[in-house]
């Protein structure tokens, strides 16, 4: 059989299907949609909130500050979602971190650094438990982390009452810690804003530039193939859960140091905010696709809507309606984007 003359099968040279810039290349970037969404929302609120100083430094920092506390956690959550998992235990991890800081440093008077070590140690253990349970039991991570959400929140409340007899605790931090984790800087930006930017940059490197990013995408794309390709998928998943819990702890530390106090209240709204930010940022719920820049823009969009509404004549409660509609549009757009990105030629999938 002389089938080696394969070149003759190519059709009369197609015009170079994908030059360096093309519509197809654009569709492969979910952050483009997220960015356009953010600009649209920003322009809307800038117009209606102009008279009430939405564009002033104070107006700007109000939404950027809010975005930062969500964004620090949303990017790792985005990583998990790209890898095909979810972590909702962050809703309990944040107050757990706050209380552990406040109890260690405020109640027992331990040095701030020791408090940090204890807090991030706890976060490491929570993330590790999440990861181990998900990889060992094969129970969906939504259920596993729902269980740890309630377990951690119950334990936080129990231990706070046991050790300090209250559910809220004051904390005074040394000046350097205040500066680093919870102070207002120029224009009223909180310290967490700088953490958010730093974490986004570090995780951008991890996902898009380093080889590990390829592993995360492969893990979410096809777990079995990823394992066959020699990727330590269990270790990778556990690391991502630990990363998420640590990020939640950092967000919690920043909040506590800023407000000089901590309460045990579980932050259910944060769970939804993070998931909305990630999905609006163009990460596919089914995994395997997403970008750090997209999640960054998604978080900003969410914060603009939630904070910006107060600068407009509209009723504050309408922000939830806007976010709901926005989420729906984003999910539909993600699907369309994915189809357009993949079906640049006629593809017939077997499964």
């Amino acid at each position: 059989m002389t089938m080696e003359t394969t070149s003759q099968t190519s059709k009369p040279a197609r015009p170079a299907a994908t030059p360096s810039f093309s519509i197809g290349a654009l569709f492969r970037r979910p952050e483009v949609g997220a960015f356009m969404g953010m600009v649209l929302v920003f322009v809307f609120f800038a117009y209606f909130g102009f008279d009430r100083n939405f564009l002033s430094p104070f107006g700007t920092s109000s939404w950027v500050n809010m975005a930062s506390t969500i964004g620090i956690i949303a990017i790792p959550i985005g990583f998990l979602m790209i890898a095909g998992e979810l972590d909702i235990s962050i809703g309990a991890m944040v107050p757990a971190a706050k209380m552990s800081m406040a109890v260690a440093c405020g109640f027992y008077g331990l040095p701030f650094v020791v408090g940090l070590l204890i807090t991030f140690g706890i976060a490491f253990v929570v993330g590790w438990i999440n990861g181990m349970l998900v990889t060992r039991t094969k129970v969906p991570s939504l259920i596993v982390t729902l269980a740890t959400l309630f377990s951690v929140s119950g334990l936080t409340l129990f231990l706070s009452l046991l050790l300090t007899d209250t559910t809220s605790q004051a904390l005074t931090s040394p000046a350097w810690a205040k500066f680093l984790f919870g102070d207002y800087h120029f224009w009223g930006f909180q310290s967490s804003v700088f953490w958010w930017i730093a974490i986004a940059a570090a995780l951008y490197y991890l996902l898009h530039l380093s080889p590990w990013g390829n592993w995360i995408f492969a893990l979410g794309g096809d777990k079995e193939s990823a394992r066959n390709a020699g990727i330590p998928i269990d270790k990778l998943k556990i690391s991502l859960f630990i990363l998420t819990a640590m990020a939640a702890a950092l967000s919690g530390v920043c909040e506590t140091v800023l407000s000089n106090s901590a309460t045990t209240t579980t932050n259910f709204a944060l769970i939804f905010n993070c998931i909305i930010a990630v999905v609006v940022g163009g990460v596919l719920l089914t995994g395997g696709f997403g970008t750090v820049a997209g999640v960054f823009f998604g978080t900003a969009t969410l914060a603009i809507v939630q904070q910006g509404i107060g600068y407009t004549p509209f009723d504050r409660n309408l922000s939830s309606l806007i976010i709901g509609v926005m989420l729906l549009i984003a999910v539909l757009m993600n699907d369309t984007f994915r189809n357009m990105a993949t079906s640049m030629s006629t593809s017939k999938k077997g499964k």
């Binding site: 059989m1 089938m3 080696e4 394969t6 070149s7 099968t9 190519s10 197609r14 170079a16 299907a17 994908t18 197809g24 290349a25 492969r28 490197y205 530039l209 380093s210 080889p211 990013g213 390829n214 592993w215 995408f217 492969a218 794309g221 096809d222 079995e224 193939s225 990823a226 066959n228 390709a229 020699g230 990727i231 596919l284 395997g288 696709f289 994915r338 990105a341 993949t342 079906s343 640049m344 030629s345 006629t346 593809s347 017939k348 999938k349 077997g350 499964k351």
Partner: protein, 271 residues
């Protein structure tokens, strides 16, 4: 003649009391395509998993280049040069061609902890590798694999295996879900791999596809090799009959037609 690249001698595999493979002996030489034919449930998957190191044979031995080998895990088999390509396996639809090609073996540039995935190098090597296999339609390494056809994805997976030093290529039903044109595409890739001196084990239940590329055929029935012959020894009908377990396809057709005649044209009920 040199020793076969991969050989199985009297291999049995049982899971507890259930015997799945009995006395399997087969060998494949470099530059040769061995077609494993078998109906669903004939033990093809178990045989593949045994060959690729997922299962250990219960009895019997496996040899590579005439030397006995045992694989404790698939990774080990891979390092010995046995690559298994499943239907669409090893490709990730939402990743680019370049990224797909190097999953788990990413080329990097830079130093120390700041190593960066070398996208340009990855894309260039990947596109070059698939083009050498005759997939001239892939010119852009940034393209998402989900946009490729089934045959192209299969070819990408094969090109990848060859690039990473495979000597034995195990293809698990590579043409099963493909159209006629796409299947021809994959068969061409199989021939190209053969020309490059790889030993190919081609698992299929489509006799036509097997006959197009095979040098050597083995028919698997209920976990045992029912027939072992070389190219040109048997006709297509004979092979199909063998696969159906000795029952002639012609007889089968006749019995269906007989049934339809006595039942107002209805085919026999599926069971």
């Amino acid at each position: 003649m040199t020793a076969p690249v991969l050989e199985m001698r009297n291999v049995d595999k049982s899971f507890g009391p259930i015997d799945v493979l009995h006395e399997i002996s087969l060998k494949v030489h470099a530059g040769e395509v061995l077609c494993l034919l078998g109906d669903n449930g004939a033990g093809k998957s178990t045989l593949i998993r045994t060959l690729s190191g997922v299962h250990k044979p219960t009895r019997g031995e496996m040899l590579m280049d005439g030397e006995p080998v045992t694989f404790t895990n698939p990774k080990q088999a891979q390092q010995m040069g046995i690559a298994t390509v499943h239907q669409f396996g090893g490709t990730y639809p939402l990743m680019s061609v370049g990224r797909n090609f190097f999953v788990g073996a990413e080329p990097t540039k830079g130093w120390g902890p700041f190593k960066v995935f070398d996208r340009q190098k990855a894309n260039a090597i990947a596109v070059d590798a698939v083009q050498k296999f005759g997939i001239t339609r892939i010119t852009d390494g940034d393209r998402l694999v989900g946009g490729l056809s089934g045959g192209e994805r299969q070819s990408l997976a094969i090109a990848r295996a060859v690039h990473f030093g495979a000597r034995v290529l195990i293809l698990d039903e590579p043409t099963a879900a493909l159209g006629v044109k796409q299947a021809a595409h994959v068969l061409r890739i199989v021939n190209e791999a053969k020309r490059r001196g790889l030993a190919v084990i081609f698992i299929t239940h489509q006799v036509m596809h097997a006959m197009a590329v095979g040098d050597h055929f083995a028919v698997l029935i209920r976990g045992a090799i029912a027939a072992d012959f070389r190219k040109g020894d048997k006709s297509r009908e004979e092979i199909a009959d063998l696969m159906a377990g000795g029952e002639s396809m012609a007889d089968l057709e006749a019995s269906i037609e007989g049934y339809m005649e006595t039942h107002e044209g209805h085919p026999p009920p599926a069971h």
